[in-house]
């Protein structure tokens, strides 16, 4: 399959400061890639380079197989980009603005009205079409920015901190919109909000000092790590009784009915089998949580200086 985004050895210097160092990754259709990193990690610079807003000091970018440096106009046909500050004209109404954006991205006149109303519907802007952008709240302006990025139905959507300034309900809506977009095309988003990555992304790339410090698909993350479970029992039995359950490799008593169970490596035993067994006992299972090595722990460890965990 042809990657929607391919970068090779991207570098960006601001004077002597190196903001992005040797970054290479690929994005395939149906993926949502989360760029995660502390402030100043190079997330926005990376996205700006992919979106053709910033020239890389070295390295190359292909969008949908087209080289962004040598053939920018063709490459940008596949692109929808929401920068850190949404590029809005406060003196236009939402409808006028989205029409303009659609025309800029070569949407033909007969499809214009459909494209605009579709983008408005997806971003929850149906009621504000006639209002001036300058009079909208920050959250609505952010939504207009997202609508602008998807109005021409691009194959690649790049969103720089898409949920900044939104209220919790809007955040949920936008996250589901992003997952939606990711099902048909490729989405790259940057954020420093960890749950956002967990909620929306299929893959994560953690940047630190402009370098790729960690990359992983999130599904893989959970399946590999959820061989340990935290449980709580109302009538805790003796430790040996739990240990005697088939497939259990290791049990820790955490006190007050809390236990940490780890599955034995060699045994084929899944979480639901374990739950079945626990329910059949009379220990009174009250809680069953897969223990994840949360992204947060990885993030903190990376940004605190440990580099080589992946």
């Amino acid at each position: 399959m042809k990657p929607l985004i391919k970068t090779e050895g991207l570098y960006r210097y601001y004077g002597d400061h190196c903001a992005v160092r040797d970054l290479s990754f690929e994005l395939y259709p149906g993926e949502v890639l989360g760029l995660l990193g502390p402030n100043g990690a190079g997330k926005s610079s990376t996205l700006r380079m992919i979106a053709g807003n910033l020239a890389p000091s070295a390295g190359r970018v292909w969008l949908d197989g087209v080289d962004l440096q040598s053939n920018p106009i063709e490459a940008k046909r596949a692109l929808g980009y929401l920068p850190e500050n949404p590029p809005l004209y406060p003196e236009l109404t939402v409808d006028e603005y989205l029409h303009y954006c659609a025309r800029l991205h070569c949407v033909t006149r007969d499809l214009l009205a459909v494209a605009v109303s579709d983008a408005k519907a997806r971003c929850g802007l149906d009621d504000v079409g006639q209002r001036l952008i300058g009079n909208l709240s920050k959250g609505y302006q952010q939504r207009v920015g997202i609508a602008q990025a998807i109005v021409h139905n691009p194959k690649v959507v790049i969103l720089d901190e898409p949920t900044v300034g939104l209220d919790p309900i809007q955040i949920r809506e936008i996250r589901s919109l992003i997952s939606d977009l990711g099902s048909e095309r490729g989405v790259v988003l940057s954020t420093h909000i960890l749950p956002e990555v967990q909620a929306t992304c299929s893959r994560v790339l953690i940047l630190h000092h402009g370098e790729q410090a960690y990359a992983s698909s999130l599904q893989h993350e959970y399946s590999s790590l959820s061989r340990c479970f935290l449980i709580r029992l109302a009538q805790p039995p003796a430790l040996e009784a739990i240990h005697a359950l088939p497939g259990i490799g290791h049990v820790d008593q955490l006190g007050q009915g809390h236990y940490r169970l780890c599955l034995a490596d060699e045994v084929e035993c899944s979480a639901n089998k374990l739950i079945e067994q626990l329910v059949q006992t009379d220990w009174g299972l009250e809680e069953f949580v897969p223990e994840q090595q949360g992204l947060e722990q990885i993030f903190v460890r990376i940004t605190a200086g440990e580099q080589n965990i992946s």
Binding site: G52, P72, P87, E91, C101, L104, Q148
Partner: protein, 250 residues
């Protein structure tokens, strides 16, 4: 695509108070100057009647009016042109154009056309003012047309210069001051032309009034037209090159 960009530019201008306030101020000052010219014309009219080849309304009112429009526009154009690129670079809205499949040439031409649209209203206002004289007198329409062509070319050339300077920096105030300075310089450089020597000929040729004055006096020479077209073309090419380097050079 060019028209889309130009249309957005014009729309934004006329939806914001800036265009209206500029036009209002301009109209007020022009009306005042127009009145003053009228006043002086009516005062000297009886004496003119006795002369054989007396200057008419066109000489005494329309030509100074167009001269005034050109000078006032000199002050206004940097304010309008700084918005085109510089202010968009500063506010971040320019990334909309940078990430769209649009070439630098089209961006520049679109922006330029948008600004020309605004300047066309200024041209329209001054023409209507001049033509209003027809209500009570006669005008040399040929000369009026030549003057109008000259004024249009001066405005278009100044707009092109302002647009180029607007691509140079993302500080709108800096670009406004710079284009104001450059325009004023082009307006005043022929002061040196009073001196003898080949250099002064060059200065006289570079100066905008040299060419504008000839057009105002009703003399349409292709060398003057070439001067303006050259000025517009060069500035637009520079602007496109500059924009390209903004996108491609690290």
């Amino acid at each position: 695509m060019i028209l889309t960009i130009a249309g957005r530019e014009l729309r934004s201008l006329f939806f914001s108070p800036l265009a209206w306030s500029l036009l209002a101020v301009m109209q007020f000052i022009l009306a005042w100057l127009f009145l003053v010219q009228m006043e002086s014309f009516t005062r000297i009219q009886p004496r003119l009647a006795g002369l054989d080849d007396a200057p008419g309304l066109t000489d005494l009112i329309v030509v100074p009016l167009f001269g005034n429009v050109a000078i006032i526009s000199l002050l206004l154009i940097p304010l309008l042109s700084m918005r085109l690129i510089s202010e968009e670079l500063r506010s971040g809205t320019f990334s909309l154009l940078l990430s769209a499949p649009v070439s630098a040439t089209r961006i520049i031409l679109g922006k330029y056309l948008g600004l020309l649209g605004m300047l066309a209203t200024i041209l329209f206002i001054s023409t209507v003012m001049a033509l209003s004289l027809l209500a009570g007198g006669e005008l040399d329409l040929g000369r009026l047309a030549a003057g109008l062509l000259g004024l249009g070319l001066v405005l278009a050339a100044s707009a092109a210069i302002g647009l180029y300077i607007s691509t140079v920096s993302d500080q709108p105030a800096v670009t406004a001051v710079a284009s104001y300075g450059l325009l004023l310089f082009l307006w005043l450089i022929n002061m040196a032309a009073g001196a003898e020597g080949k250099g002064s000929l060059l200065f006289a040729w570079i100066a905008m009034p040299t060419h504008f004055d000839r057009l105002l006096s009703g003399l349409v020479r292709s060398s003057d037209l070439i001067y303006f077209i050259l000025c517009i073309g060069l500035c637009l090419i520079f602007a496109v090159r500059r924009l390209d380097s903004l996108r491609t050079r690290p």
